[in-house]
């Protein structure tokens, strides 16, 4: 199949405005005749659902949470980018565009990234209007801070809780539409399948997680805003319930999966402390503004960090990258931390950690300034580790955090299934092989507030829709298949719990498909994962009833999908014989140990097509054209 990204013609600055003019419109009076399903209520889902309802569409919203406000966007700490140039440091749309394309290591679509940079300013205005309490200076103006991968201060923030405040803003807009009767919200529903009729996405099958009943819902278009798939690694900074089931089931219904191997490891997380550990906690990247990263110069140094004199410390990021220093992009910072630990310079009980030290900043700015900037993060660190970061450096280590890959979408955010849209982290579109900090919130809200509401109208206005009810044979088929899967999981009655299988899968993924990948390791993963999957389907134990609230059954379905997705990630990583951004193949690096791209062979989006259980996954390529930013070896020196 030839992929058509539908990128508009014309100079990059005019693509989006030209495109908007050419999009067909739905008459205001006709909008209420269309029903749109939105799955997921994070930044992308909540903002899209609220905006679509404001336009007049009839919107059905689904979440596996009890409330829209619980979505994991809430945990984003650091901030949201916009090139307002309020800091007067020379920022512009073009610079944000350039930074993002470069930060993504030239594996994203220029047109999408430019549009993202273009609409990002409106996001800040919108959020302010909603009452989001962004940080202000003493004159009452919005304050900014800087973030990794950029040399300007363009990040807007609300303490260390920016994601929470933006999500509550979008949630409040959604509440207003629920109150107005234009949105119906379905809590505690897990999407189990997409229903495709006559080649159009026409609904979903959801499981009511309280009573276990499968419920069909029909619509004229379906929007997935279900987040990323980082939990395939078991330990990640994602929330426990974050999962890939919605996008994976959509993939099996015909939506291509793009660049699955582009996963992001965040450099500043609290290191793992034991086997029982259920998740990893992120310490915002914003800490790198004032914290200095170092390891002892001597291997295996066991002295307390305060006792190690200045000249026996290696501030390795400042040494290797004098111009960006501690603010290099995430992929670079993570890889260097791993390298230091691999070489024996790691600190703490597991030796899998480096220091993030605030003593200089506290000396320079005073404790109260640091408290104001990062107070909640310091408290969180203190509570988890029982160490006071005001007195002793934090210990940090990289952890899986974000997935740049996701379902393939065209410029209109539509997948290869007509009428099926994907927004936010769940799609692949804007971050290439590495996402810059403070860009996830920006993308989720750009998609939801300012892109999807326009592009979905074009589809609705130009297609014809046969009336479809939920007694249609395709709905019945999807329900029966879902039920068969559930009954199977309930009947195995093996010896091992879902969590144990998940942890085993995570260990394979982290060791072979994690921060550094190799041909032999990936091949090994491609043997280990299917073997573990087979074990799972023979030996997993799910207790309780499927017609009841059953947390084990919920997890089992998600983990079953992770086996298949994990295999695809490994396959994608194996086929991409280059290093770029978060995808680091040990065989392909520069003499300095930086990621070495191969533009001649791999300047494309790898879009995987599922052709059924027998034929499996087939690779399709969308070539990437760089007309504005010329790809070069990224340098942060």
């Amino acid at each position: 199949m030839k992929l058509d990204a539908k990128i508009p013609d014309g100079p990059i600055e005019q693509k989006w405005s030209n495109h908007r003019f050419h999009l067909r419109l739905v008459n205001p009076a006709n909008k209420r005749k269309y029903t749109i399903i939105v799955v997921g209520t994070g930044l992308a889902g909540a903002s899209a659902a609220a905006s679509l309802a404001e336009l007049g569409y009839n919107v059905l919203v689904f979440s596996y949470h009890e409330s829209p406000r619980r979505a994991h966007s809430i945990a984003a700490q650091g901030g949201i980018n916009a090139p307002k140039n309020y800091s007067n440091d020379g920022d512009s749309i073009r610079r944000l565009f350039y930074d993002t394309v470069k930060g993504g290591d030239y594996r994203s679509r220029e047109a999408n990234v430019y549009r993202l940079a273009e609409v990002s300013g409106s996001i800040i205005d919108q959020c302010v209007a909603q009452g989001v309490p962004f940080a202000r200076d003493y004159a009452g103006y919005l304050d900014n801070r800087s973030f990794g991968g950029a040399q300007v201060a363009r990040t807007f923030y609300a303490r260390g809780q920016t994601g929470q405040q933006l999500l509550l803003g979008a949630y409040s807009a959604l509440c207003r539409q629920i109150d107005a009767g234009r949105v119906k919200f379905f809590p505690r529903r897990e999407m189990m399948d997409v229903v495709v009729i006559d080649g159009q996405a026409r609904g979903i099958v959801a499981r009511n997680m309280v009573n276990g009943i499968l419920e069909p819902y029909a619509a004229d278009a379906v929007v997935l805003a279900t987040g990323g798939y980082g939990n395939v690694f078991y330990l990640s900074t994602n929330a426990k319930a974050s999962n890939a089931t919605a996008i994976w089931r959509a993939h099996k219904k015909g939506a291509f999966f793009a660049n699955p191997c582009f996963t992001q490891i965040h450099p500043t997380c609290i290191p793992q402390s034991g086997q029982y550990q259920s998740k990893l906690t992120l310490m915002s990247e914003s800490l790198r503004n004032d914290g200095r990263i170092w390891v002892p110069k001597k291997r295996g140094d066991t002295r307390r960090p305060e006792d190690i004199p200045e000249n026996e410390r290696d501030y390795y990021l400042e040494r290797l990258y004098p111009s960006f220093g501690n603010l290099v992009p995430r992929d670079v910072a993570s890889r260097r931390a791993k390298e230091m630990c691999d070489q024996g310079y790691g600190v703490g009980p597991t030796k899998l950690a480096v220091y993030l030290d605030f003593s200089d900043a506290i000396k320079r700015l005073g404790r109260s300034v640091i408290e104001e900037r990062y107070g909640n993060l310091f408290d969180m660190y203190h509570e988890i580790t029982a160490e006071d970061p005001y007195k002793t450096p934090m210990r940090i280590y990289p952890a899986v955090h974000y997935t740049m890959g996701g379902l393939w979408v065209d410029y209109n955010l539509m997948t290869t299934v007509p009428g099926l849209y994907v927004i936010g982290e769940a799609n692949f579109s804007d971050h290439g092989a590495n996402r810059l900090g403070a860009s996830a919130l920006m993308q989720g809200l750009a998609d939801g507030y300012f892109i999807l509401p326009y592009t979905i109208g074009d589809y609705l206005a130009s297609e014809t829709f046969n009336p479809v009810k939920t007694d249609h044979a395709e709905f019945k088929k999807a329900e029966q298949e879902t039920e068969r899967g559930i009954k199977k999981l309930m009947s195995i009655d093996g010896k091992k719990t879902v969590d144990e299988f998940h942890r085993d899968l995570g260990a394979i993924m982290w060791d072979q498909v994690g921060m550094a990948r190799s041909k032999s390791g990936l091949k090994k993963a491609l043997q280990l994962i299917p073997a573990l999957k087979e074990q799972f389907w023979k030996n997993v134990r799910v207790t309780g009833s499927d017609l009841d609230l059953n947390i084990e059954l919920e997890k089992a379905g998600r983990v079953a999908d992770y086996f298949e997705l994990g295999e695809l990630i490994a396959r994608d990583a194996l086929h991409r014989e280059e290093s770029c951004g978060g995808h680091f193949r040990e065989e392909y690096q520069t003499p300095e140990g930086e990621a070495k791209r191969n533009d001649a062979r791999f300047s494309y989006v790898a879009a995987w097509e599922y052709r059924g259980a027998r034929k499996g996954e087939v690779l399709n390529k969308e070539p990437l054209k760089f007309e504005v930013v010329k790809p070069s070896q990224r340098s942060y020196k």
Partner: protein, 246 residues
């Protein structure tokens, strides 16, 4: 550490609940409370029993999903921490720990420790917003907000909607939750046009949901993982009175 857990088990709203006792061996003090429950659940599944159902998600104290009464206290003995942030080092070796769901008629039990907090959503739907439609708003810097006001609004806005305030209150009052939102938007210029109707409608919905009244007990502030101050309740009272009388 070795611990004895007394956990509330209840199949659903209709069936009667009871305490079950479980012995926990070799609990690490570095574990979070929920990780300790994860271990309990794995043990239960291995024995063919159903795991204890509890709401949780981010496990870093921001999503507001988790929440249980631990030894009679909302979110347990931690300070400024949700249940997920609570570490086992807060307990003594050999301690008996009683774990219950939020106790409030407006939060009916769904299963075990899982309760239905949708009343909070309905209160939010009754006015917990600024009616700013997407698009057509001024530049962010066109609305000036003095730093101290922005900070105070942020203090209120940091509510995670966990329900600890209700669970801790002898009257099961939701005043702190409602006050946090009313106060945030009453402080900010963006919230002025709907200031009165918001206070009236949210309070009306709060009453309709069956939450009790505030009798200045302050348990809500003491147990709030985000330390939201009861002074916001004072502001809510003023806002409500002004809207009602003036």
């Amino acid at each position: 550490m070795n611990l004895t857990l007394r956990v509330w088990r209840q199949r659903n709203r209709e069936t009667e609940g009871r305490f079950e006792t479980y012995e926990m061996k070799d609990v690490s003090p570095d574990m979070s409370f929920l990780e300790m429950l994860d271990v309990l659940n794995i043990n239960l599944i291995k024995k063919g029993e159903e795991p204890v159902a509890f709401d949780h998600d981010c496990r870093e104290g921001i999503c507001g999903s988790c929440g249980m009464m631990i030894n009679g206290r909302a979110h347990g003995p931690g300070h400024r921490a949700a249940t997920c942030e609570l570490r086992m080092r807060r307990f003594e070796d050999g301690e008996v720990i009683t774990v219950e769901p939020w106790r409030a008629a407006s939060f009916p039990i769904i299963k075990d420790l899982v309760v239905d907090r949708s009343a909070f959503d309905r209160i939010m739907e009754a006015g917990g917003y600024v009616s700013a439609k997407t698009g057509g708003v001024p530049d962010g810097n066109a609305i000036l907000i003095p730093k101290p006001i922005a900070e105070e609004a942020m203090d209120a806005a940091s509510c995670i909607g966990c329900g600890a305030c209700v669970a801790a209150c002898p009257n099961s009052s939701a005043m702190l939750f409602v006050a946090a939102k009313v106060s945030q938007l009453a402080l900010l210029p963006q919230g002025q046009p709907e200031r009165k109707s918001r206070a009236l409608r949210m309070v009306e919905q709060m009453d309709k949901e069956g939450f009790g009244n505030c009798s200045n007990n302050y348990a809500c502030e003491a147990e709030c993982p985000k330390q939201i101050s009861v002074s916001h309740i004072a502001r809510l009272n003023r806002e409500f009175l002004k809207a009602k009388i003036l």
